[in-house]
Amino acid sequence: MTQPAAMTISDEVAIDITGMNKWYGSFHVLRDINLTVQRGERIVICGPSGSGKSTLIRCINRLEEHQKGKIVVDGIELTSDLKNIDKIRSEVGMCFQHFNLFPHLTILENCTLAPIWVRKTPKREAEQTAMHFLEKVKIPEQADKYPGQLSGGQQQRVAIARSLCMKPRIMLFDEPTSALDPEMIKEVLDTMIELAEEGMTMLCVTHEMGFARQVANRVIFMDQGQIVEQNEPEAFFNNPKSDRTKLFLSQILGH
């Protein structure tokens, strides 16, 4: 199942993080992070609560600012230069735990807003693209509703479609299923699996270990702001090296 997707990984570097450190005040959240992501790679990040997973992926599109080290996304280094930041943000899609759809706009308007204003796509064309992606996440019939009228799972799929409408080269997911009821988790995961099979570069914070096994090329385990272990999924789950990973896996898979 993972084989055909694995073929699409290229040598091209999508994200390159070297020696990155971040502090909240005097609290050292991220410590000496080094991570290189190839184009087409699908990475799952897991770890205990408060270990800095969200902070790490939010640094990649500069929702959080890092203080030391270097982050290069798509060949552009993240500095305080606003032009670079906006450029990177329009190439990197992000899905949040709480969807963050715009409640005052319809589903279709949610999806066309950024293409129209950031990419300057003509409205008609943006709407066609939006409908294409809404069909892909299997909710084209909801296009004229407002987010408040949709179920959680539907909202998250809209959020994914909204990001895809910008034709991003990298997608970041921050616990996309953890605010959902069990029966809705599957529909969102299915959408993400489909995306992965098309060769999208993905960084995904999640505790869905089934998803990690099926889709990821690499699983990264974080604890206390550091990358403690990373490995291919089979090796990671069957044969964890560090004690902290073992403990974490026993807690999460134990019940």
């Binding site: 450029k87 190439e91 963050n100 950031v118 990001s163």
Partner: protein, 432 residues
């Protein structure tokens, strides 16, 4: 169905739907409504009867006073004779002093059509802003309206509003050219271009004073309810954008801008409006170049606008604070820049939350325009208090005059509040 009664069968599946039946008579119609709402208990019944009695007493006093009212008399003594001891209002004062109540004492009589036309056009100009389902073409009227209304009210050569509009248009064009590079550049360029254009056009207007001119009316001749309407409309429409800018400034990461906004807002909110108006009438004159000091209305408009924009800024800040951080982050993560995120995502939601507060400020502001009577401007209240009640013809007709003033303000304020409730319902998309 019969399964239900056999004790052995605990498991039970209903196979048919029961038909819908009409409710019993006591649960429908007027009787039910009366019983539930007015006579549900003994204390409730007593209260109902007491209230009905109070309403009867009030109405039996007020209705004859209105229906017996005298509409045709030239002074209060004639009015009293006509009434001949009966209870009745002396509404003749409103009929006789109507032009003064509406336009003030000094506005030229043969020009009354100008403010009236301006008022009708105001309704046309405001409509497309208030109701988004009207044709967007009408917005052109809204754009031109401020210049047209100025010309109608104050008179003078038509070149003054035309060149003013031209300067603004040039400024806007320069702004749209430059804004692609940066917002600050665009704003600065636009303002400079507009000022330059006005300066150049100044030579034209100086030499065409008499061309296509309406009779000029001085600011001090504006009065009556017209003055309240001018102050209310201008100040509300100016203080909304200024309030938005102040609220955003107060949230800004740029410390200097933030502190300027904080100090401004806190200072204005800590001062009574009436002191600001005295400042306008006396002190502010020193800050203007000599020759422009005549215009008291301009100074009053500046002060009321500053005052209400500080309040509106605080209302909007509340709306901004109520938005979850995720909305900002979603906007950022899609690559929208600050101006786009604010205009398309943050402000529409924050303003929607702030509608009740903004309307509150607007209604309060409109009523506060009557305070200008204290600095001897003859608005509606000033007219009644001064020229009309002080005249020998009509001294003593308090109820009728103040009732009339209250009615005028009530009509405007109630319409505003009804509109805002309608707007809130229309914008409700959250379906909670």
């Amino acid at each position: 169905m019969s399964d239900q009664h056999t004790p052995a069968a605990v498991a039970y599946v209903r196979t048919e739907t029961l038909p819908e039946l009409p409710p019993p008579a006591s649960e429908a119609g007027l009787v039910k409504w009366l019983r539930e709402n007015l006579f549900s208990s003994i204390p409730n019944s007593i209260l109902t009867i007491l209230s009905l009695w109070a309403i009867y007493v009030i109405l039996s006093g007020v209705i004859p006073w209105i229906t017996n009212g005298i509409w045709d008399a030239s002074n209060i003594r004639e009015c009293r004779e006509l009434l001949n001891g009966a209870s009745g209002g002396c509404f003749a004062v409103i009929a006789e002093r109507w032009p003064q109540l509406v336009f003030g004492i000094a506005y030229p009589q043969d020009a009354y059509w100008r403010p009236s036309l301006a008022f009708v056009l105001l309704l046309v100009a405001v409509a497309p802003v208030l109701f988004s389902n009207l044709p967007r073409m009408l917005l052109a009227v809204t754009l031109v309206y401020p210049f047209l209304a100025y010309w109608l009210l104050w008179g003078g050569s038509i070149f003054i509003p035309i060149t003013a509009f031209g300067g603004a248009a040039i400024g806007y064009m320069v702004y749209t050219r430059l804004v692609a590079q940066s917002f600050a550049m665009g704003l600065l360029g636009g303002v400079v271009a507009a000022l330059l254009a006005w300066w150049v056009f100044g030579f034209i207007t100086d030499n065409t004073r008499g061309v296509l001119a309406l009779e000029a009316v001085a600011s001090r001749d504006m009065g009556g309810f017209m003055l309240n309407m001018i102050l209310g409309t201008v100040c509300v429409s100016l203080s909304l954008p200024i309030g938005i800018v102040l609220a955003l400034g107060r949230q800004s990461d740029m410390l200097i801008i933030k502190w300027i906004c904080v100090v401004f807002i806190e200072f204005i909110r800590g001062v009574p409006l009436i002191t600001l108006l005295f400042v306008a009438s006396v002190v502010l004159a020193y800050f203007f170049p000599p020759g422009t000091t005549q215009d008291l209305i301009l100074r009053v408009i500046i002060m009321i606008t500053l005052f209400s924009s500080a309040y509106i800024a605080e209302v909007i800040r509340g709306g901004l604070a109520a938005l979850p951080r995720g909305q900002y982050e979603a906007g950022d993560s899609l690559g929208l820049d600050y101006a786009q995120a604010m205009r398309l995502i943050i402000l529409p939601q924050a303003l929607k939350i702030s509608i009740p507060g903004i309307v509150n400020v607007a209604v309060g502001l409109f009523k506060d325009t009557t305070l200008v009577s204290v600095i001897s401007m003859f608005d509606l209240v000033g007219m009644i208090r001064g020229p009309i009640l002080a005249s020998t013809d009509w001294s003593g007709v308090y109820w009728e005059l103040w009732g009339f003033a209250a009615l005028l303000f009530f009509i405007v304020c109630y319409s505003i509040s009804q509109y805002s409730q309608w707007l809130e319902r229309k914008l409700a998309t959250d379906h909670r």
